[in-house]
Amino acid sequence: MASLPRLPGPRQALSSIQSIRPTRPFHTIHQRASASPSSLRNSPRNQPFKTTPTTPTRTLSPIQIRTYHSPLHPRLPPHEYTNSQTAILTASLPHIPTHGFTAAALTRGARDAGFLDVSVQLLPRGEFDLILFWLASRRGLLRGRVEDGSVFGAAGEGLSVEEKVKILVLERLKMNIDVRGVWQDVRPSLKCPYSETSLSPLLELHALSNDILTLAGDSAVDATWYARRMALGAIYASAEVVMTRDPSPGLEETEAFVRRRFEDKEVLRGKVEGVGSWVGFWGNTVVGVGRSWGLKI
């Protein structure tokens, strides 16, 4: 009898519950376990840039996947490039408006970051990595701007989710102003069916629409979760195409295009809901008539 552990009294139990609830959310346990050998992280020579602790991964997927999501978790980093890779890619970004998303921009970036021309081998997919890094880092930037309050400003509380989404889409498109001249060249390589990279642009588009909706405060937990993300992704992707041919300095035409597409989306939603209620009404009526005739339905 003495060997059995004694159950805690109610007061003790309550305090122990409070002690296990984290005051600060942990994010490390929710990250995907890194499959790479830990020697890379342990070796001091492999961490020349002490910016953020990054976990090297086997797949080099730019997007992390988390099995459980809670708003209490800190957000995952927008990409999983290592510090040296990030250094080269970041230094390449200023060269994009002149050189496009090309190996030349990467080479110049590597040189600016103190590497050699040959060091672009650090990025196995070359310019494709530059494109993905551009997308991911802009997404991270958008997130940062929302979190420091520079997007919605003081009026942020009064805006509806729909208005916030529209503002965020335009904000994201405005980040592309400098590269709109070269963005047209990127689109073929985003659709190029590479062996393991064909899904990355789609995942990135999903991550962007997911981020925009989350930042706008969308809290749908039904089938519209998919519909909203797909609709937003479609609007954003088509607006990018319009943007590449938009000569106006402040992207006014693109803005008008986005506004029209959101109106279309509303119309489409109205139609779908109308068809749904029509089908529901007639279904109910048929069942009711059948029952009144004595059918066992």
């Binding site: 050998p37 020349p48 040296s84 103190g114 590497f115 021309d117 040959v118 081998q121 997919r125």
Partner: protein
């Protein structure tokens, strides 16, 4: 009745008899091996194909193999790989993209072009390809390649072949006879790109060669290695092993008149570490690994490994 008792006796004796030999187990086929191992051996052993040899001996044995295959090296490669080795080598050079295009060249850099060290590149297969790529694709006339090989016969073969290229007798191509594990004539941090193609398998101490590569590379320089590796698909692996151990020594015997050298070749392929193990060795030498760290060619028959020397401080 008598048969039953005889059976019982036999059965019993087969089951219960315990035979204690006076000397430990030693059959005729393993006597030699047992004697060899019993010999007091103060020297570290390494593998030469499937046999173990002292480390000091491996170098000369590998040297003998390559001296004997040097003249027929090219024909044999074509026959053994059905010509695929050319595709691999082209892909290897293309992916490295040696040379800086004119438009990208910084105007006031003190040393133009890349300084490439091609280890174990005796016959110049990779070196000529890299120079061709730099010249014709990137219009870079400054990139230079040093071919280093431990074997004078292979270097002689490379020299002979270089006379047919436009790089013969120019400062862009040079030949050095050296051991890749110890290269005191090459200063620290002087090389942009270190390549070793189908060579590191034959090194006595691979880790020492990797450490030496780390030393001679500039910060940001790239170690690139193409080597036979492990086939991942088991069905294809069975076919490949059959080809390796049956066909290649036979081709060697018929074409080059040298079965043993090619037997060594396939055994050394078999003994080379797997993709993951070799990646670990590259990391151990201090290199950063880009992405997965290796790229399989033809289902893993060969693999391209890359490592980048980190830039310590910017």
């Amino acid at each position: 009745m008598s048969t039953r008792s005889a059976w019982r006796a036999l059965h019993y004796s087969a089951k219960r008899r315990t035979f204690q030999p006076a000397t430990p187990y030693r059959c005729f086929s393993c006597t030699r091996q047992a004697f060899d191992q019993a010999k007091p051996d103060h020297e570290r052993m390494t593998h030469f194909g499937f046999t173990n040899v002292p480390e000091s001996e491996k170098e000369s044995r590998v040297g003998a193999v390559f001296s004997s295959v040097a003249s027929s090296y090219d024909n044999m490669n074509d026959l053994m790989s059905l010509g695929i080795h050319r595709l691999w080598k082209d892909h290897f050079v293309r992916s490295l993209n040696p040379g800086t295009p004119v438009a990208n060249r910084p105007a006031n850099a003190k040393d133009q072009g890349w300084n490439i060290l091609d280890i174990a590149g005796g016959t110049g297969d990779i070196a000529f390809r890299m120079l061709d790529h730099a010249t014709n694709i990137n219009h870079d006339l400054e990139t230079r390649v040093t071919i280093s090989d431990i074997n004078a016969d292979m270097l002689a073969e490379g020299r002979k072949r270089s006379t047919a290229t436009p790089y013969y007798n120019t400062p862009r191509l040079s030949f050095v006879e050296a051991n890749a594990e110890h290269m005191p004539h090459i200063p620290d941090a002087s090389i942009d790109l270190y390549t070793v193609v189908f060579g590191i398998r034959n090194f006595t101490d691979k880790q020492a060669a990797l450490n030496e590569a780390f030393r001679v590379l500039k910060p940001g320089g790239v170690f690139a290695c193409m080597e036979f590796s492990k086939v991942e698909n088991p069905v294809f692996d069975a076919v490949y092993k059959r080809w390796n151990f049956s066909a290649i020594p036979l081709i060697g015997q018929v074409v080059a008149g040298d079965r043993d050298s090619y037997q060594y070749l396939v055994e050394s392929i078999e003994r080379f570490p797997s993709q993951e193990e070799f990646r670990g060795m590259i990391q151990k030498a201090g290199f950063m690994i880009p992405g997965k760290g290796y790229e399989n060619l033809t289902g893993g028959i060969a693999a391209i490994h890359k490592g980048i020397k980190p830039v310590t401080q910017v």
